[in-house]
Amino acid sequence: MVLSCSKEDFSGQINLESKVVVEGSIEEGNFAEVLLSSSIPVTNVIDSTNILDHVIRSARITVSDGVTSEVLRVKNDKNRIPPFVYFGSILKGEAGKQYTLRIEYLDRILEAVTTIPKSVSLKSAAYTKTNPADTTGYIFVKFDDPLNEKNYYQIATKIEEEPIFVPAFYGNLDDKNFEGSSVATQLNRGVLLFPRGKYTPYFNDGDLIYVKLRTQNKEALDFWNSWQNEIVNSKNPIYPSTTSLKTNIKGGLGIWAGYGQSTLVVKTPPKK
């Protein structure tokens, strides 16, 4: 005789709510970019008929540096989730400036503020193998941390086939942990669920790898660390993640951050 409890629908016990999610960035030398969606209550099934219900395409997004402001235009990008990107074409990010974001959607208004920190250059990025016979390898980066400044960093990578940069694992750095001014560290490739799928911590021969060293402020550091915690630990019973991501969006979820940046390209031996 087998008795088993039916899978209880816990949703009846909690308040389901949908909030507006903002994933926004402005890098030094680049235009602003914002993705907008509404969060999906846990009971909903998302498919091709209703996925667009959670994508916000008709918001009015304004970015301003205090002097100039621009309203972002929207375009389709099938490599992103959500598949619509609001982009700027007038305001280019400049180090030291403050940028405000204002989103008007239906009757809601969301706001956020950020600044772009000074960039720090990547000195070098190299593809190294544990054994010369391997067909896979790791990226090793070097840069100099300015001693008189407070800096927070993020190291991210992208290969030619990937649509976006992926933050490296444990790659959100606080300069108070550095032993000296020269930083040399190995990179742990981050997770990109879509479109990459299965996670591998290394790179492969034949990849064309872009390595970006971003400078960010404390809010962005906290956000990306909480994002990493959620991804790594959501199924982990030892250190379970049960806290929401930190946000700097007033009235919503997500992040609006300014970044300094320095990018290097790393070539790898051709695939055999």
Binding site: S4, I40, K176, N177, V183, Y239, S244
Partner: protein
């Protein structure tokens, strides 16, 4: 009846081996009056008797009945020594006047006799003290994969386990399958739900005292249990007439058996390539130095190893934890009125976690070490019993030592901060009998704690009180009040009882935890065989400690003290128990209805939320049946409400990865927990000196799925047209059969 025509007859009952006999029945026969007394946890009794001739009849199972007749003219002190009944030793012992498995002591405390509880079903056929406690009122069952105690709405770290007076900090073996203590080495244990004895301090909730055998072995003997996952062995060796020792050992051999068992039972393949094992050893050395001095030296060592590989995230985890205690104790009987114990102890608990993830090596280790001295004196003044003493302990803690190594060696971070603390306590318990019907237990404990700086010094007073009203032979009522302070806290990070939890001592401005508890209750002797109790409690706790971040925030090296959150909590409830102690069929029913909540400024926006183990209803039924001298059966039935957890409310994408949004803390409840266990013992033979029996147990006979935690995963639907969030209940194990052979020669 005028008070002046009565005198007090008091004293103690010991065996001819100088062992205090608990629960001995003494009947007082005067002219037309019969009344009874029962000896307490150290064998003492006290009873008012009219002037004139009185006959005392002392009865205790396994001993020859003693009768004392005398003319009582004034307060009298009697020391009664009972001789073992040799005729019993050869016969099979299954008797209607069996010793009770559970005895009620004053104020709701319970005393457990392990031998009598051997037929309570357990996972592997070996008795488990924690699992038995979870079948009594006020104690929540912790489900699978968790060996902690949750008593009266408190946290796991609020409970003390004393091994012959020495605190043990490690609390469980992984998965809760294995009992933490080898009960062949333990004679009995007492459960003080509120640590009401003033000898106990430093914990907000219960104290469980494990007592090893203090009788010097007369003959060599061996006993043990051979099971499918682990085996244990205990030898008793006499050295001379005045000395001897007991030595026990236990070891698992489960990797060949348990891993395939777990992988086939759990949903999904998160638990792959798992390896687990533990071993432990106990030794008790006894030496009767002089007629009145007994030296006992206890040693306890336990070590666990756990390895797990998770391919999804390229993660390898290696976890080790261990306990070590050594404690010499001298018990001195200065006179028939005064006895004293002095003991020194060293107790250490450490755990070590190493994780390899991608190219990062991450290590967290933690330990707590205690050097202590305990002194307690039992004496009586004008026939009022007193117990006083002095305790000192020096704590050394390394709460968390974190080492992060990027394989290149550059960005290495290290976090370490040691805590050193001193704790001194003096205590006194007075047990005056106010009237014929009312007696009082008054305890006062004063604690001084200091850890480093002046601001981390605390002088606290902890009053304890039990007021007993004995209406008659059948009914008694009690009211209690306890104040407790706790200086060391157990920080739990996991949602299951995996021992990455660590101990922290009040320092750097983190204040000691404190609680006030009121309880009331009543004990009823319904008939010769039936005993019941009913009561309620209300507990307020302050300066509780939470650490909600887990250790993944380690790239931010802040001091632990900055990350700890302080808050308060309260718990209240009603507890009842009905026990049948004698006869072929005996057992008990226990029911608790309770609430437990927490309020922390920095959690849940400062709103009060349910504590994790706020399980509204908790019902346990235990039945043991002796069919004949060859067979006995045991059954356990548990119904309890599920515990609380935080369920995400919505999800969204950041950087093309799904993440979850959580709203209120502990906003959801796991399904109700239902479990039935069965055990069958077949005795090849059984006498008081020899035994050979086969135990067949089934844990969770009806194969009910009781999940240990819930996760939300994104999955494609069957048509592959869409995504949805699927709740997955992670169940560790369901039906577990076991067979083992128990022997004693």
């Amino acid at each position: 009846m005028l008070a002046q025509s009565k005198a007090t007859v008091s004293g103690n009952v010991t065996s001819s081996d100088n062992e205090n006999l608990i629960g001995v029945s003494i009947s007082f026969s005067e002219k037309n009056l019969h009344h009874y007394a029962v000896t307490d946890s150290i064998g003492r009794f006290s009873e008012k008797v009219s002037f004139g001739e009185v006959e005392l009849t002392v009865k205790h199972f396994g001993y020859i009945e003693k009768s004392i007749v005398f003319n009582c003219l004034k307060d009298t002190l009697i020391a009664i020594v009972l001789d073992k009944d040799a005729s019993q030793l050869k016969e099979v012992i299954i008797d209607n006047s069996k010793k009770a498995g559970i005895t009620t002591l004053s104020g709701g405390k319970l005393s457990f006799n392990l031998k009598e509880l051997a037929s309570v079903p357990t996972i592997l056929g070996t008795t488990d003290i924690i699992k038995i406690l979870q079948l009594t009122p006020g104690v929540q069952n912790s489900g699978e994969a968790n060996g902690y105690l949750y008593v009266r709405g408190g946290d796991p770290g609020h409970n003390a386990i004393l091994y012959d007076g020495t605190p043990i900090y490690g609390m469980s073996h992984l998965l809760g399958i294995f009992p933490f203590y080898n009960t062949d080495h333990i004679k009995e244990f007492e459960f003080d739900k509120s640590s009401s004895n003033s000898k106990f301090g430093g914990r907000l909730s219960s104290t469980t005292s494990l007592i090893t055998d203090k009788k010097i072995p007369e003959k060599a003997s061996i006993q043990g249990n051979v099971g499918i996952l682990a085996s244990q062995l205990t030898v008793a060796v006499p050295i001379a007439k005045k000395a001897g020792f007991y030595l026990s050992g236990r070891k698992t051999y489960i990797d060949e058996i348990i891993v395939p068992l777990l992988s086939s039972n759990s949903e999904g393949n998160d638990i792959e390539n798992t390896k687990y094992g533990f071993s432990d050893a106990n030794m008790t050395f006894l030496f009767k130095i002089a007629k009145n001095n007994l030296l006992s030296v206890d040693v306890f060592v336990s070590a666990d190893k756990f390895k797990i590989k998770d391919e999804d995230f390229d993660l390898r985890t290696n976890l080790k934890w261990s306990d070590f205690t050594v404690s010499p104790t001298l018990t001195t009987t200065l006179s028939s009125k005064i006895s004293m114990t002095n003991s020194l102890y060293f107790s250490q608990y450490s755990n070590d976690l190493k994780m390899d993830q991608a190219a990062i090596q991450f290590g967290v280790s933690s330990y707590v070490k205690d050097f202590g001295f305990n002194n307690a004196v039992n004496y009586s003044v004008k026939n009022i019993q007193f117990e006083s003493g002095l305790q000192y302990v020096y704590h050394t803690l390394q709460p968390q030592k974190i080492d992060v190594e990027n394989l290149s060696g550059a960005n290495n971070t290290s976090q370490n901060s040691m805590i050193y603390a001193n704790e001194v306590a003096v205590f006194t318990t007075i047990k005056p009998k106010l009237t014929n019907h009312i007696n009082l237990e008054l305890g006062l404990r004063a604690n001084y704690y200091n850890s480093g700086s002046k601001s981390d010094s605390y002088l606290n007073f902890q009053p304890r009180m039990v007021l007993n009203y004995l209406a008659n032979d059948k009914y008694s009522f009690y009211v209690t009040y306890n104040k407790q302070y706790q200086y060391l806290s157990l920080i739990t990070t996991s949602s299951v009882g995996i021992p990455t939890d660590f101990w922290f001592a009040s320092s750097n401005g983190i204040k000691p935890q404190s609680s006030n508890e009121f309880s009331f209750g009543s004990n009823q002797n319904i008939s010769k065989n039936l005993v019941s109790s009913f009561g309620g409690f209300y507990r307020l706790m302050k300066n509780l400690v939470e650490y909600p971040y887990g250790v993944t925030q380690f790239n931010e090296t802040t001091t632990l003290a900055n990350d700890l959150l302080a808050g308060k909590g309260k718990a209240y409830g009603i507890e009842m128990m009905l026990r049948k102690n004698n006869g072929k069929f005996n057992g008990w029913m226990s029911y608790t209805l309770s609430w437990s909540d927490r309020t922390f400024d920095k959690l849940n926006n400062g709103n009060t939320y349910f504590a994790k183990y706020d399980r509204r209803h908790n019902l346990s039924l235990v039945g043991m049946y002796d069919l004949n001298s060859k067979w006995n059966f045991g059954v356990t039935q548990i119904f309890s409400s599920g515990n609380r957890f935080t369920l995400p409310t919505s999800w969204y994408f950041i950087n093309n990865n799904p993440v979850k949004e959580y709203s209120e803390y502990n906003n959801a409840q796991m399904p109700n927990y239902i479990r039935t266990d069965l055990s069958i013992n077949y005795f090849f033979f059984k006498t008081s000196k020899k035994e050979s029996a086969l135990n067949f147990s089934i844990y969770n006979v009806f194969n009910v799925e009781n999940p240990i935690y819930v996760v939300l995963n994104l999955q494609e639907n069957n048509e592959k047209t869409g995504l949805f969030a699927k709740q997955e209940n992670k169940t560790l194990y369901r039906l577990l059969p076991s067979i083992s052979w128990r022997f004693k020669f």
